[in-house]
Symmetry: C2
Subunit: 180 residues, 2 copies
């Protein structure tokens, strides 16, 4: 049996960063908390990044997730948006890594595949499957939170595979020991 793992999924955005803390073992999962953290466009960009980093830090200290999961982007409308997205993602990664929380990143297609079984699923289908997998009767609001939950579920979906690999490795170790 896989132990329960607590994962913080984050969907980073300068204006609104979605978050969702999920407990699961890759088979069943439940929401611990979810929401979106907003920053004001009246604040300087560096200040907004610091607010996001401090918020994620506080969330980690309150809920003690073992891991943080993020979407890894490889595309952006243009180079300038890519700079901006990288900045916000980094604010979240710094908050996690300074607290010893491991960071996992997933391509958008990997999130869709993990949550719906189909790597090119439309956003609506991903959001519907998030509700189904987490037993939610309502659409998580705002939608940034739903996207963050999808990312957390993507990490949790890897656990049974990791467990199987670890078992194989243990069998392998045993075999090597027998030969020695």
């Amino acid at each position: 049996m896989t132990e329960l793992r607590r994962v913080l999924g984050v969907d980073p955005g300068l204006a609104a960063t979605g978050f969702g803390v999920v407990d699961g073992d890759g088979r069943a999962a439940t929401v611990v908390t979810l929401g979106a953290f907003r920053t004001s466009a009246k604040h300087a960009r560096a200040q907004r990044l610091a607010e996001i980093s401090e918020f994620i830090g506080a969330l980690i200290e309150e809920h003690q997730p073992q891991e943080l999961a993020l979407e890894q982007q490889y595309v952006a409308r243009n180079v300038r948006s890519a700079f901006a997205i990288g900045e916000v993602r980094s604010a979240a990664m710094v908050a996690a890594a300074t607290r010893g929380v491991a960071v996992y990143e997933y391509a958008p297609a990997a999130v869709k595949e993990a949550v719906t079984g189909y790597g090119a699923a439309p956003k609506e289908q991903v959001r519907h499957m998030v509700m189904v997998q987490l037993g939610l009767s309502e659409q998580p609001s705002p939608l940034d939170a739903s996207d963050a939950l999808a990312i957390a579920l993507t990490r949790l979906a890897e656990l049974p595979v990791e467990e199987a690999l670890a078992r194989t490795a243990r069998v392998g170790d045993g075999a090597r020991r027998d030969e020695a």
Copy 2:
């Protein structure tokens, strides 16, 4: 007379982040410290970003600069490099903004213009003028440190202009008071 201002210039890079702390008033400037902080490619990216953020934070706490100056990039070889550069810059901005240090950003041409008087100056000329302006007998090493000093000097070069504007504003205030 302009008060001395202490500025931390940073040239962010995932492998090596150049830094230089400079005291100046926009007319004369002296180096407080300079160098480059390196991270190991063996560490996870999130870990490296956290190390950079923590290093910049420690530098701020030790030398107490009032401001941090960074190069603002608008171009990158490709979208993927833009994400990476944004991530490292954010790690430095978060370190500054969480400690109440104001962040200033300059386009590469503005740095060249401020340091050499010519916005399309070659890198070598910028590095030479950094030595001249700071009274250094040797090229700062590594070159990332020299680039960080150039960025700090760019911020300091604005001070006489800011001071002149502030004086104008005070004269204007007086005139308005006379009319009342």
